[in-house]
C-alpha cells in the first residue's frame, strides 16, 4: 500500500485533498494529512476510507523525518522557505515530492542528488507558477514544432473577485496572501525585454507602466510587470527572444490608484512608525504629507500627487475609510503592515464571495516569413469559499502530478518544473475536465 503524505491543510489544500481521497481506495493507497490544526485536517478528510489525519509540528525535525520515512510521496503545502529542508530529507530517504512553490537556487542545487536517488522533486506545479508554465509551454512547443520563430512572449495572471463579488471601486479583494499583495513589486527593479532592448523599471514606477488587456466576456484588465521576467528566457528555451514580459492582472484603474500608496511610501516594510498603535487611518496618511496648519489631509494628498478632485482615485481612497479617524491599534507596525490592516477591513472575501483566476498569454512569432500573433487565455471562477478558483488551480495540478508520479507516468528524476510535454500534456488535458480550459485566438501581429 503506497502512502501519500501531505504537509499542510490550509486554504489551497481542500481541492487537493478531495481529489486524492477519491482515488485512494481503488488504487490501494493511503492518504495521510498533517497540520498544526488537526481539527481542520479531520474536517477536510471527513473520515473517508484509507485516509489518516495527524497533528503536525513543522518545526519538529524528528516528527517530520518520521512522517517522510513512512511516505512514498510527500506533498508539501508548507511555506516556501521550508521546502529545501523537506526536499533534502525526501532525497535522503528516496521519496518523491511535489510542491507548488518556486524553485529556489538552493532547491536547484539538489538536482543531481535527486537524480542519483532516482526521485522526482516536482515544483512550480500550482497556478502561478504552474498552470502558467504548462499552458505557455504547450503553445510555445507547438509553434516551434511547426517551424515558427518566437518574437514575443507576454504572460499575465491575476487572482481577483469573480464578477458577482466585484463590488468595490477597486474591483479587487484579497484572493491571495494580503501581505504579498501589499509588497508586490517592492524590493528591487523590474527587468524585462522589449523588442531586443533590456528594460528596467524602479519599484515606484511599476504601477505607472501598465499593459491594457481585454478578455472576451470578462472585459477590461490591466497588467503590471513582475520582478524578473528575464530568468524565464532559459526556463522556456527563449534565450534570444526579443520581447519577454511577465505581469500581474488587475481590473482597469487599480494600478493608478495603488500607485498613490507607492508614491506616499505607504507600502514600505523597512521601518516602524512612531506611535502606530494609537494612530488613526487619517494620521497614517498625514505622516506622508508635508505639514500645513490650514489644509485638509484630502487637499494635501490631491495637491502632492496631482490628483483632480473628481478623479476616481479619490472614490477608491474614500471606499477604504482611509480619511477617517478609525484607530489602527497595532503596536510597532511598519507602513506596509498598517496598510494591509486597513485594506483587510474592506478587501477580505466574505463567506458568499467568489474568487476568480485569470490568465492571459500573448505569443508573437514568425512563420514562413510572416509575422503572426496568438493569444491564449483562461478564466476560472470559484464554486464557493472552499472550492475557490485559487484552491482549484493550485490544488488540482499538484494532485494530478502526485497521482502521475505514483503511477509511474512521470519518469524523469531530478528537481523539476512542469515544462516537459510528458508532464504538461496530461495535466492540462485533465484540468479541462475541471473547467480549467484555455481559449486560443489568432490575431494580427502587433509586436510590442
Amino acid at each position: 500500500m503506497k502512502n501519500i503524505v501531505v504537509f499542510g491543510a490550509g486554504l489551497s489544500a481542500s481541492v487537493l485533498i478531495d481529489y486524492l481521497a477519491d482515488l485512494v481506495v481503488e488504487n490501494d493507497w493511503m492518504l495521510s494529512v498533517g497540520d498544526r490544526d488537526i481539527d481542520l485536517v479531520e474536517s477536510k478528510l471527513k473520515g473517508r476510507p484509507n485516509t489518516h489525519a495527524f497533528k503536525f509540528d513543522v518545526t519538529d525535525d524528528f516528527q517530520r523525518l518520521n512522517e517522510i520515512s513512512k511516505a512514498d510521496i510527500v506533498v508539501s503545502m508548507l511555506p516556501a522557505h521550508m521546502h529545501v529542508e523537506v526536499a533534502k530529507e525526501c532525497i535522503g530517504l528516496k521519496k518523491h515530492m511535489v510542491t507548488a512553490s518556486y524553485i529556489s537556487p538552493e532547491m536547484l542545487e539538489l538536482d543531481q542528488r535527486a537524480k542519483d536517488a532516482g526521485v522526482v522533486i516536482m515544483n512550480e506545479i500550482g497556478v502561478d507558477p504552474g498552470i502558467d508554465h504548462m499552458s505557455a509551454m504547450r503553445v510555445l512547443d507547438e509553434i516551434r514544432e511547426q517551424g515558427g520563430k518566437m518574437l514575443q512572449f507576454e504572460t499575465f495572471t491575476g487572482g481577483l473577485p469573480a464578477p458577482q463579488s466585484d463590488d468595490n471601486p477597486w474591483h479587487y479583494k484579497f484572493a491571495w496572501n494580503p501581505r504579498n499583495v501589499v509588497l508586490a513589486g517592492a524590493g528591487g527593479a523590474v527587468k524585462f525585454k522589449q523588442e531586443g532592448q533590456f528594460k528596467y523599471i524602479p519599484y515606484h514606477q511599476v504601477f505607472r507602466r501598465i499593459e491594457r488587456i481585454d478578455i472576451p466576456e470578462y472585459g477590461q484588465f490591466e497588467g503590471y510587470a513582475n520582478r524578473d521576467s528575464l530568468k524565464y528566457q532559459s526556463v522556456y528555451g527563449l534565450q534570444d527572444i526579443p520581447t519577454i514580459y511577465r505581469g500581474t492582472l488587475r481590473r482597469r484603474g487599480f494600478c493608478k490608484a495603488w500607485d498613490v500608496f507607492v508614491k506616499l511610501g505607504a507600502t514600505d516594510d523597512s521601518y516602524v512608525m512612531e506611535g502606530s498603535e494609537n494612530m488613526t487611518y487619517r494620521e497614517f496618511l498625514n505622516s506622508f504629507l508635508a505639514y500645513n496648519p490650514h489644509d485638509s489631509v484630502e487637499l494635501k494628498l490631491m495637491h502632492y500627487l496631482k490628483i483632480d478632485q473628481d478623479n476616481d482615485i479619490m472614490d477608491k481612497m474614500d471606499s477604504l475609510d482611509i480619511f477617517s479617524d478609525t484607530k489602527i491599534g497595532i503596536p510597532n507596525a511598519t507602513p506596509a503592515r498598517i496598510l494591509q490592516h486597513i485594506l483587510e477591513q474592506k478587501w477580505t472575501l466574505n463567506e458568499d464571495d467568489l474568487d476568480m483566476i485569470v490568465m492571459y498569454h500573448v505569443f508573437g512569432y514568425e512563420m514562413d516569413g510572416k509575422k503572426m500573433q496568438r493569444s491564449s487565455y483562461m478564466v476560472l471562477e470559484g464554486d464557493d469559499r472552499t472550492n475557490t478558483a485559487m484552491a482549484k488551480t493550485v490544488g488540482l495540478p499538484v494532485a494530478i502530478a502526485t497521482r502521475m508520479i505514483l503511477n509511474g507516468k512521470i519518469s524523469a528524476s531530478g528537481v523539476k518544473a512542469p515544462i516537459s510535454k510528458e508532464v504538461y500534456q496530461p495535466v492540462l488535458n485533465e484540468l479541462e475536465e475541471y473547467g480549467i480550459r484555455f481559449t486560443e485566438r489568432e490575431d494580427t501581429y502587433r509586436g510590442y
Copy 2:
C-alpha cells in the same frame, strides 16, 4: 616626546597635516603620517622637522598595532568602516583617537571601555558631522541658558562649487565623494518631525519635497532631507522638540532635475545592467523608458516624466551629453555606477576650480511667552585645490581637537562627539581665525 600618528593622507588630510606640522617643534611632538602612497605623504610633510612618513597598509594588522603602540594619539582619516577596529586597539593600548566619522552603534558600545581606559575617542569632528554639531550646540545652549524653549531646529550643509567655478547648468560639481552624492537618500525612508508630527518621505519623493533657503551675498539654495533626523533629538538634548529636520544644500533647481534620475531608477545600485560595457549614454537612458519604434529618447523621457520641452531640466540633461552615443565602457556596472561615470566627466573639479562649504541653521524658540527665530549661517570658499573648503572644514577641527587632547584641554574620556561646551567653544573660536565664521540673524518667527 609625544607622538601623533595620522592614518591616511588623502584629500582632506592636507590642512590637518600642515596645522600639526607647524606645532610639533615648539611642543616637542613628533608627527608620523602613514598612507599606502608614501610619496603622497612625503609631498605633504615636505621634510619638515619632527615629522616622519611611513608606508602604511591598513589591512596589515601587525603594522597597524605596532604604529598605534608608538603613538600618544591616533588620528584616523581611514574609511569609516575601519574606525571601530582602530578604536578597539587604541583603547586596549590606552591611546587617544580622533576621527571625523559618524559614531556607529558598534563604536558607541566602546564608550565604557574607553572611560575605563581613561582615553578620549573623539568622533564627528569634521564639517558634517562636526562643525554642524558645534555651531548648533553653541546657539542651542545659549538659547536654553537664557530660558528659551526650543520649538524648531533645522540644519543644512552642502559642498558646492564656489561662485567663480559655478559654470554648469546644475550649479554643482563633486566637492564630496561622487558615489555618496549619487546614492544620497537611497536605501530607506527619510524621517523627521514637523510641528509635533512625525513625517516620512520615501526615497523617490525626497527630491520633490525641498526647502527654499536664501543666504546673504550667496543667493538662493534649496535643501533636501537627510535620512534620519530623529536620532539627533537625543544627541542635541531636543527630545520633545516639535520640529527637527536635517538636510543637504544644493543650488536652486538641482533637486527637480536630479529627481529625473531618481524617477528613472538610474541611481539604483542593486543590480547589474546587461551589456553595460558596450552601452552608450543614450542606450542607458533608453533602458528606463518604454519601447517605442518611432519616438526619440528625448521625447519619451519628456513624455514619461511630464517635462516641458523648454523646461531647464532638459538643458541640465543636455549639459551631461546624456543623449549622446558616447560609450560607457564599464563592464558589469549598476545604474548608479554608470550614472556616476557620466557625471564625473562633467562634474569633476578642475585644477583651477574652487569649492565652497555652506551651512545654515534655523532655531525657533519661545522666550518670555514670545516666539522667536534665529538663523545662523557660514560660507567658506576654498583657497586652491589643496586648501579646499572641504579640507579646511574637515581638517582644522580634527587638528584642533588633536592638539587640545594632547595638551589636556579636553579631559572627559569615552566615545565622544563635540557637543560639550568644553570642546565646541575653543574649537569654534579658533576656527574663526581661519575664516570659518558664523553669522547670526534674529528673524520673526515663521514656524515650519
